[in-house]
Amino acid sequence: MKKFIPFATFCVISLALYTGLSLSPGNIPSELINDPIPEFSLPIVGGESLGFSSTDLEVEEEVIIINFFASWCAPCYVEHPFLMELKNQGYKIYGISYKDKARDTNRFIKEQGNPYYKIAADEDGRVAINFGVYGVPETYVIQEGIIRYKHAGPIHEMDFEDKFLPIIKRMGE
């Protein structure tokens, strides 16, 4: 009976590996889900006046979206059309340009189109760190000042239809 131990152990490991195939270990969920958004206040792109602050977001009654992006980030170009689609559907997207030069951000918006309700610049990236951002693009869904959902990486077509929209719709109800 003892001789079956290696076989049995291996079966357990296989099971773990099989389950592992359906997981996505790269997808780190946000630690801040259901927490209030961190306090911040960021300037507009390329200027000193206020872009927007956390207070502005807290007073929004509808579901809003925060999107961290940058002109130097290739996947941001890929997700851009989907952000435009979200805008067309009536959602307010607050854009935060992450560690980007003002001139480049403006060029990005001019060339690709502007899906954002308001844009602010996080030039040193500290506000992003307070959100738990570790790369761009990252998108947050906020309801009444509380972080409800985070999506790391670009919003691809499948994510858009299968994950994103249903979640937003559900929150809107």
């Binding site: 290696p6 076989f7 291996f10 296989s14 592992g20 270990p25």
Partner: protein
């Protein structure tokens, strides 16, 4: 046309492996000699065809045939030829083809060198080897075809990652695979023995050389990878307990245990079940490791590509091969006659402890590597198991291991005289302790663990030397004659253990007494590190084959005399656009000095961010491992392991 021939050859190899895996095996089980005689020709044939396939793929890379998807994705016309060639195996499909090639190579080698093996065992070993190959061919042909064409095809490739454009890394996979895949031979021998229902000293004698060969290559392959990381990443790190590294380290640990276990089977005809199990587990780790890093089961942040289809195939294959062999073990291990007994203190028992420690180490590494996955599956928590855990756990196990390694060779078989050993080696132990403390204070003190590792390294070195000196009776007359007559296997053992001792000292020195400096330096600035004066002369612009770079010039002086000029570079590659740094390293026996150049500090480009490191005894790590591999090859050259000789001696 050549590519299609390669594809066709691959299919032929697949068919041959199917034939080789089934008909001769059936013949061996039912006594049909004609079927059994199919073994060797199919083994040679399979090797022939997979070589053609591999050659075809390599040819496609050499001529930059971008109509082949694999070449288009992984190559570029501007790449130096060496890296075009190495790109053949520097991608998923190509590396699996390399796996299959080496598997077939070993199969053909066993077919040739094992002609004097008992016929039924010979056939069984080759059949198992072929069945493993079959799995790989199917994987290639069904999910990872390297010969897929692309139309319309691009006129330029997407280029290889510049990090891979390095001689060390180019040769790392083949060397590693010669090791990994070589363990398949021991696996096939083990499963063959289980089917036969017999393991004896002759079997162990057949198995040892193949295990040694695989072990030597694996050690060299892992070390090459570490050494590459050391000089490429440029800050002195050489081991990160990364899943990919662990995937190669686990089989190494088990292979080392297997090597020692096989010795016991050969000399004392005991520990058979353990040895068979280790042989199965060693190769299982090879398979597990190779596939874990490709299936997407262990990925890292922001990786987009996971391929569940491949993952499922691999897992199914793993289950059949590993599960099947472990099941066979459970059912047939009783047939293995238990051999000689041994006392609680004896060379056998020390080897058992050695095996236990190595096996536990492998299991702990596996557990640590898979734990994030297990935790995620069970609770959804994301957690990291990083170097702090592995260093502690592995270190904990290495301490008793190093102690036992010093004692083992001095212990006699069956029953060792503990009091005698303690009295002789006790003095050696005390001397090592004193020496360690002395060096510890000379180097400037520090953590207590630093002294512990120094002590263990010196102990192993001294004990190994003492055992050798005692065996050849160094201080009596005719010592030289006795030294010359030592069997090579014993010489190999001494070198192997000595190599490890030196490596341990190297690790201790560089880890605990390493110095780092980060400064902004202007032209003409000087700094002092590790006893060297470093003067930053200037920088120049360099245009390389597929990159542009800034090269710094640093004059290194010791005691006023210039010893070398180090020229680190900060490179920018074009396709894909990617910056890298090339550290400049000055290696001496006592330590490594290295300089890394970073960004320019201001717009006038005469002040630069510079990092300097001094790592004492770093070369001892690389040197120690080289000596270990050298010891392995010496052991291998022992005439007693020649295939023919083995059979005669047992009779």
């Amino acid at each position: 046309m050549i590519v299609e021939s390669g594809h066709y050859a691959l299919i032929l190899a697949c068919i041959l492996s199917l034939v080789q895996g089934t008909f001769p095996l059936y013949g061996a089980l039912t006594g049909r000699g004609r079927l059994m005689r199919l073994s060797a020709p199919t083994a040679y044939g399979q090797f022939f065809f997979v070589s053609i396939a591999f050659g075809a793929l390599m040819q496609a890379f050499i001529v930059s045939d971008f109509s082949v998807v694999n070449v288009a994705k992984n190559s570029h016309t501007l790449k130096p030829m060496l890296y075009k060639v190495s790109a053949t195996w520097g991608n998923h499909e190509g590396s699996i083809l390399l796996w299959a090639l080496i598997l077939a190579l070993y199969g053909a080698a066993v077919a040739f060198f094992g002609r004097k093996l008992p016929k039924t065992l010979y056939v069984k070993v080759l059949s198992i080897q072929a069945l493993i190959g079959l799995g790989f061919y199917l994987f290639l042909l069904l999910t990872s075809n390297p010969f897929e064409r692309l139309y319309p095809f691009p006129t330029e490739g997407s280029g290889l990652n510049p990090l891979l454009q390095d001689p060390g890394l180019a040769f790392h996979p083949p060397l590693l695979y010669l090791g990994y895949v070589g363990l398949s031979v021991t696996f096939s021998f083990a499963v063959g023995a289980l089917i036969e229902g017999r393991v004896d000293a002759a079997w162990a004698r057949w198995v040892r050389p193949w295990t040694l060969l695989a072990w030597c290559f694996l050690t060299a392959g892992i070390t090459l990878g570490s050494w590459w990381a050391y000089y490429e990443l440029g800050w002195g790190g050489w081991w990160f307990w990364d899943p990919v590294e662990n995937a190669s380290f686990m089989p190494w640990l088990v292979a080392t245990a297997l090597l020692h276990s096989a010795i016991v089977v050969e000399k004392r005809d005991t520990l058979k079940a353990w040895t068979i199990l280790l042989a199965i587990i060693a190769f299982s780790f090879s398979l597990l490791g190779t596939f874990i890093v490709r299936s997407g089961v262990l990925t890292s942040v922001h990786a987009f590509a996971t391929d569940p289809e491949r993952g499922v195939f691999i897992l199914a294959f793993l289950f059949v091969v590993i599960g099947g062999s472990l099941l066979l073990f459970a059912l047939r291990a009783d047939k293995l006659q238990a051999g000689g007994l041994f006392a609680p203190i004896s060379r056998e028992s020390m080897l058992v402890i050695n095996n236990l420690l190595l096996s536990v180490a492998a299991m702990v590494v596996m557990f640590g590597t898979l734990y994030p996955l297990l935790r995620d599956a069970l609770t959804g928590d994301k957690i990291t198991v990083g170097p702090p855990f592995f260093n502690l756990a592995f270190g904990f196990l290495m301490i008793p291991l190093l102690l036992v390694m010093g004692l083992g060779p001095s212990a006699s078989w069956k029953r060792a005289d503990l009091a005698g050993i303690v009295s002789r080696l006790g003095f050696v132990f005390a001397a090592s302790l004193v020496a360690a403390l002395a060096f510890f204070y000379i180097l400037g003190g520090g953590e207590i663990m630093a002294a512990v590792w120094l002590g263990l390294g010196l102990w192993l070195m001294a004990a190994t030397f003492y055992e050798w000196a005692d065996r050849v009776k160094l201080f009596k007359i005719n010592a030289i004659k006795r030294i010359k007559r030592q069997p090579r296997a014993s010489v190999g053992m001494s070198f192997g253990h000595l190599g490890l001792a030196i490596a341990v000292l190297g690790i201790a020195g560089s880890s605990y007494w390493g110095i780092e400096q980060q400064k902004i330096m202007a032209y003409g600035d000087e700094t002092n590190i590790g006893g060297y004066d470093v003067n930053f002369r200037d920088t120049s612009g360099i245009i390389g084959p597929n990159y542009t770079a800034v090269r710094g010039a640093f004059d290194i002086r010791k005691n006023g005399k210039i010893v070398t000029t180090l020229e680190p570079e900060a490179r920018l590659f074009s396709t894909p656009p990617m910056p890298t740094t090339e550290a400049a390293i000055y290696s001496t026996l006592m330590g490594d000095l290295f300089v890394v150049i970073g960004e320019a500090n201001n717009k006038t480009y005469d002040q630069w961010a510079v990092r300097l490191y001094y790592k004492p005894l770093q070369t001892w790590l690389w040197g120690g491992v080289v000596i270990m591999v050298f010891g392995g090859f010496i052991s291998l050259s022992d005439r007693r392991f020649r295939m023919g000789a083995a059979k005669k001696k047992i009779n």
